[in-house]
């Protein structure tokens, strides 16, 4: 107890010291950075904590499962399994930040997924024939459009009719699920269009080893460019910049994470049967020792990463995103500032619907079928991912990458428990406990930050 008090008071004094100092010399040097060491990296401590938590989970399961968790095969599967929830969690962050909630995403995924399945398996073949190269485009666009319309519908009721989003989307949860059943009278629709299936991953739906490396290198170039550009802009306005070593350290760290991930995932090789087919298709003679042909990064994973980048960009670099955060922080202030708050909220629900459409496409492509139970309970995983990722249910606070990490944490727990052989009922208990503990830790963390 006394230890805690000591720490707090020291921190407090340190803070005061910095304030007084900078108060006396306001921005004089223009370049000096208060504090040294790790602080210069400007790391988001909560995000950092989550990454550490994730590593603890991974290493823990690795030992508990007798060395089967941290294998290329398992992590590759983990990334694919995380994609659907991650795609939807990026939109859920914005919904929750705007002080709303969307309970309907699981049912909407079922409804839209079923509609997309019917479109490609029963409607389009009559009109344009089976397996056209462009079938998947029509289906994907139609599905995302349908999701956007359903989302907008809910958003309009929430924003303009002022019905609480909890109720509107609870209604949506029942309505969309019911309509998913009505659409196909409870049948299972399969198979999906052969090109469309590539959205779901698998051997053909992955980009292969070489392209994975190319993507990794491009990502590294992107990281370096962003750091460089950020630095250049700050220098131009003569703001303080991070010390050069900190920028370099961040660049090296970022690129290492990307390249190590690519390297590790690329070590998941096709089983012999698939590899032989691949060799035949590409005219490679089958050597005696066999061939190590990597799957490469799976398409759904690339879709999820691209989604996270785009939504994060919208959240932090566009007016629309800024307005969502302003509404979540103080709706009255946002309105007085001239922000069209109702329109913004309705649009946020529309974006959520669009992302549900995308997630539905990935899900039915991966399963190669659609049932009326598709997506059941996934609203809870999506909300949990956002909340574990640091999104505050009080609104105004949340990050997209936090939510993606949250989705990865949830999926890691589930995969890990399967590997360790924990029974299903207990798995739910663990996920529930982790959700509550993670949020409790976050509440405590935030309280300490503000006091």
């Amino acid at each position: 107890m006394s230890l805690t008090e000591d720490t707090t008071s020291t921190e407090y004094e340190a803070e005061q010291g910095i304030d007084a100092q900078s108060g006396l010399v306001p921005d004089q040097a223009g370049r000096r950075w208060p504090g040294t060491g790790l602080k210069s990296l400007e790391l988001d401590t909560r995000l950092f904590g989550m990454i550490v938590g994730l590593l603890v989970i991974w290493i823990g399961f690795h030992f508990l499962s007798g060395g089967t968790f941290l294998t290329p095969r398992n992590l590759w599967n983990l990334t694919v399994q995380t994609s659907v929830v991650a795609i939807m969690a990026t939109g859920m962050v914005l919904i929750i930040v705007s002080r709303n909630i969307d309970l309907s995403v699981g049912s909407m995924l079922g409804f839209v997924g079923m509609a997309m399945a019917l479109l490609q398996a029963e409607i389009l073949p009559k009109l344009i024939g089976f397996d056209q190269w462009y079938t998947w485009i029509i289906v994907l666009v139609a599905g995302m459009l349908m999701g956007a319309i359903l989302g907008l519908l809910q958003g309009v009721v929430v924003a303009y009719a002022a019905v609480p989003s909890f109720i509107v989307t609870l209604g949506g949860l029942l309505i969309w699920r019911g309509l998913a059943w009505v659409l196909a009278s409870g049948r299972t629709i399969a198979p999906m269009d052969s090109t469309f299936q590539l959205l779901g991953g698998g051997a053909r739906g992955s980009v292969g080893g070489t392209l994975s490396w190319v993507i990794g290198v491009v990502a590294c170039a992107g990281i370096v460019f962003l750091l460089f550009n950020g630095r250049r802009r700050r220098v131009k306005f003569s703001f303080r910049v991070r010390p050069m070593w900190a920028d370099i350290a961040l660049g090296v760290l970022g690129c290492s994470v990307v390249l190590v991930s690519v390297w590790f995932l690329n070590r998941y090789f096709m089983p012999e049967g698939l590899a032989r087919q691949y060799a035949e298709r590409n005219g490679i003679t089958w050597p005696d020792g066999g061939l190590d042909i990597p799957f490469g990064i799976a398409n759904p994973v690339l879709i999820a990463i691209a989604t996270a980048l785009v939504v994060s960009f919208i959240a932090t670099r566009r007016r629309f995103g800024r307005y969502i955060f302003a509404i979540g922080g103080n709706p009255e202030a946002a309105a007085l500032g001239g922000i069209k708050t109702k329109r913004t909220v309705a649009m946020t629900f529309m974006l959520m619907g669009l992302l549900v459409g995308l997630a539905a496409a990935v899900q039915i492509a991966r399963l190669n079928s659609a049932t009326s139970g598709l997506g059941t309970l996934s609203e809870l995983y999506v909300i949990a991912a956002a909340v574990i990722g640091g999104t505050s249910l009080a609104g105004g606070i949340g990050t997209i990458f936090g939510a993606v990490l949250g989705a990865l944490v949830m999926q890691s727990l589930q995969s890990g428990m399967v590997l360790v052989g924990i029974e299903t009922a207990l798995q739910d208990v663990v996920v529930g406990v982790v959700l509550v503990v993670a949020v409790a830790a976050d509440v405590v963390y935030r309280r300490r930050q503000t006091s």
Partner: protein, 263 residues
């Protein structure tokens, strides 16, 4: 009321009426604001001061009445309309988004964007730093959520926002209510500075000392009606208090009413 210097009023609100379900919150009020003037608006709770100024700041529509700016009638139906006419408001509740930093709040609803429509954070930070150097040189926490700032710092963000967008008419609703003595002094200083730069300022305050310290003219409201507008130099604090409580101009008070006030 004649003009102090013969100029056209910056703002003239004529016969403004607002009612909420039969209650006359503002009942036929007419006031003028001149450039370089601090015009205090005082009255008890529910006197209608806030509602009146909300019609000028765009947060409340009028039922009837005309608002003239520079002698020309204007229609103010939203906060954006008000801002287009050079009216900036500093609300009692500050109207800041607590989760966003000072820079974001400065430009809330009027963000600077690059050619591609992306937020131009550097340009906004630059502008914020420049304006703060002038208004509050000690201000340093540009990137912290304003929830973590002191009342005075938050108030300087709100004022900086008004000043940056070249407000000609500044409405301040209880600008010092939430502040400590040092911060109150700072805000008073700022009000004098803005006045000397030719802004017209409407000041709502419960603090009669604030009012006598800063205002040129004082308008008193009671139950939605304007009791009267007086020049500060021609009245005493007691006389203004009498207007607020009894609703009578200095000459109209009977000696027994005056005695009651002191009782």
């Amino acid at each position: 009321m004649t003009s102090p210097n013969g100029a056209t009023p910056l703002v003239e609100m004529q016969d403004i009426r607002v009612s909420f379900g039969g209650v006359h919150a503002v009942d036929g009020v007419t006031i003028q604001l001149y450039p370089g003037e601090v015009h205090a608006l005082v009255g008890g709770n529910g006197a209608g001061k806030s509602t009146l100024i909300k019609t000028l700041s765009g947060a409340q529509r009028v039922d009837s009445g005309t608002i003239l700016i520079d002698g020309k009638p204007v229609h103010i139906e939203s906060p954006i309309d008000a801002k287009k006419n050079g009216v900036e408001t500093i609300y009692q509740t500050l109207a800041l988004a607590d989760n966003i930093d000072a820079i974001g709040n400065m430009f809330l609803g009027r963000e600077l964007v690059t050619g591609l429509g992306n937020l131009d954070d550097s340009a906004m930070e630059d502008a914020t730093r420049k304006i703060m150097r002038r208004l509050n040189p000690k201000f340093e926490n540009f990137k912290a959520a304003v929830a973590s700032l002191s009342g005075g710092q938050r108030q300087s963000v709100a004022i900086a926002r008004a000043v940056h967008f070249n407000a000609r008419i500044l409405i301040m609703d209880e600008p010092t209510a939430a502040l400590g003595p040092a911060e109150t002094d700072q805000v008073r200083q700022l009000i004098r500075q803005l006045k000397s730069e030719g802004l017209g300022i409407i000041l709502i305050s419960h603090d009669i000392h604030d009012v006598f310290d800063l205002a040129d003219r004082i308008s008193v409201m009671l139950q939605g009606e304007l009791v009267g507008t007086v020049n500060k130099g021609e009245v005493t604090i007691d006389e203004v208090l009498a207007m607020i409580i009894v609703g009578k101009l200095p000459g109209e008070l009977t000696s027994s009413e005056l005695a009651d006030l002191h009782g």
